[in-house]
């Protein structure tokens, strides 16, 4: 074991930049994914087939294929299309695909959004009938029931499973290391590995960093649950 290599300033800097890239990927994709998932979940539970089926198809495809495949398809696949290659310096729609960070964020966002949509849709369906009935009895419209009663409660009840999704996404960002030009935590570890031929030291360091980040996330979600799910906690003596 030669951990002294890990603690050299250059290596530490590499890992630090890796942490920043990983967190950037996580924060962007998870926040956009979460925002998009709210309207999608509402559509997903709609009784109108024309609204719910496209969303179902989207979540079905995204949840049915590995995220690595999605990253490859977007980074290498799209870039090999002749129409994209010919136009991506001119057409604004294609331009971002030249950028590695954008390709990763797009894949991650599409992926996490699909999972979050299904979780939220499940929570919406699970809403206590009594609450909905009471709201209707108060004379609220369908949208008012959704906005004032169902969504706030569903969002809260999704929190525990959503914390898992965010943690899975943190680990999923390691797939960014398969895209060149992106040096996330795993990418930094791979670079140390190929430069110094030290697999154990490099990947143990990366693992430890992920562990610390995961526990920080778990702690933050614990706080959030205490705040927003207090009414579901067993009563303390």
């Amino acid at each position: 074991m030669q951990f002294d290599v890990i603690f050299e300033p250059a290596t530490l800097k590499l890992f630090w930049q890796g942490i920043l890239v990983s967190l950037k990927l996580l924060v962007i994709s998870v926040s956009i994914g979460a925002l998009l998932s709210i309207p999608l979940a509402v559509l997903r539970v709609s009784r109108n087939k024309w609204l719910s089926t496209p969303v179902w198809l989207y979540t079905y495809v995204m949840r049915g294929t590995p995220m690595l495949i999605q990253v490859y398809l977007i980074y290498y696949g799209v870039a090999q299309l002749d129409i994209v290659q010919a136009n991506w310096d001119t057409v604004a729609l294609f331009k971002p695909f030249k950028d590695a960070l954008f390709c990763c964020v797009l894949a991650f966002t599409l992926n996490t959004c699909a999972y979050t949509t299904e979780m939220l849709a499940g929570a919406i369906r699970d809403t206590n009938h009594g609450e909905v009935e009471a709201a209707k009895a108060m004379g609220m419209s369908k949208w008012q029931v959704m906005r004032r009663i169902v969504l706030p409660s569903a969002l809260r009840r999704t929190l525990p499973s959503y914390s898992n999704e965010v943690i899975m996404m943190l680990h999923g960002t390691s797939l960014a290391s398969t895209v060149p030009a992106l040096m996330d935590i795993t990418g930094a570890a791979r670079s140390v590995y190929s430069d110094y031929y030290l697999p154990f030291e490099a990947f143990i360091t990366a693992g430890a960093i992920y562990l610390v980040l995961t526990f920080t996330l778990v702690g933050l979600f614990k706080l959030a649950e205490r705040r927003w799910l207090a009414y579901l906690q067993p009563r303390k003596a």
Binding site: A79, P180, S191, D195
Partner: protein, 258 residues
């Protein structure tokens, strides 16, 4: 105490067995993305200059070559983890690698070059590379060179998992150039339809500081017998014309080098 003694005896027995090991089968690590040195036929069989050399050496040692594929950045760790016994995959002999493994003498030596689009903005290297994206193979001598010499001149060095991915991203327009072995890049890219309009720029690159003394076969430091046997076999195939025959199969000039 007894247990330690027993383990000691077993370890001793094993090490004796290992040192007396006949090399009936040599597992050869390759990264089959490096045309024409190491690549695969359309039906998936390993082929190329490296593979033919390995087979010729195995034949010389009356052993069987078994090829094991490994991504480039894990080549040396894989050797030390005993996933294979030798690396015959155009690996340059460098001081850094010598710290981790042992090398035979070279079996060929070709220089590296910088490749960019001809007639474009890049005419003088490294001055014109400022802000340009240069793709290199992760963990390669060319990566060391690009990071050491080109990054200082303002080039953005992007490391890739495999050299063929570099060509994909050159084709797609994400990269402005690459640094690669001159023969490899010529056969694997410049000669193909995608390489049209691209070419070498700047001088031949062979500074030993970055590029070492040519491509050798890497073996574990503990396998001195294999190293000696391979060195002898390289001498034999070089002398008896087998090397020349393999060389002529792939190239119209000698790649033995200086």
């Amino acid at each position: 105490m007894k247990k330690t003694a027993l383990f000691g005896a077993i370890a001793l027995a094993l090490s004796v067995a290992a040192s007396a090991k006949e090399w009936k089968e040599i597992r050869v690590g390759i990264d089959a993305t490096y045309k024409p040195f190491t690549y695969k036929t359309p039906d998936g069989k390993p082929t190329g200059f490296d593979v033919d050399i390995a087979n010729a050496l195995c034949a010389e040692l009356k052993a069987k070559c078994v090829f094991v594929e490994q991504a480039w950045d894990g080549m040396i760790p894989g050797l030390n983890a005993k996933k294979y016994d030798a690396i015959v995959s155009s690996m340059s002999i460098t001081e850094e690698r010598k710290r981790a493994v042992d090398f035979t003498g070279k079996y060929y030596n070709t220089p590296s070059r910088i490749v960019v689009k001809l007639g474009g903005a890049i005419k003088n290297v490294p001055a014109d590379l400022k802000g340009k994206k240069i793709g290199v193979l992760k963990g390669s001598t060319q990566e060391k060179y690009a990071k050491g010499e080109l990054e200082g001149a303002g080039a953005v060095v992007v490391p890739y998992e495999a050299q063929d991915q570099v060509y994909l991203d050159i084709k797609s327009g994400r990269l402005d150039g690459t640094v690669a072995d001159s023969v490899e890049v010529y056969e694997g890219f410049l000669k193909t339809a995608d390489g049209k309009g691209w070419g070498f720029v700047g001088p031949v690159l062979n500074e030993p500081k970055y590029f070492g003394e040519g491509a050798g076969i890497a073996v574990r430091k503990s396998d001195q017998d294999l190293k000696a046997a391979l060195n002898k076999a390289i001498g034999t195939i070089r002398a008896n014309g087998t090397w020349k025959k393999i060389n002529d199969k792939y190239f119209n000039f000698e790649v033995w080098g200086k």
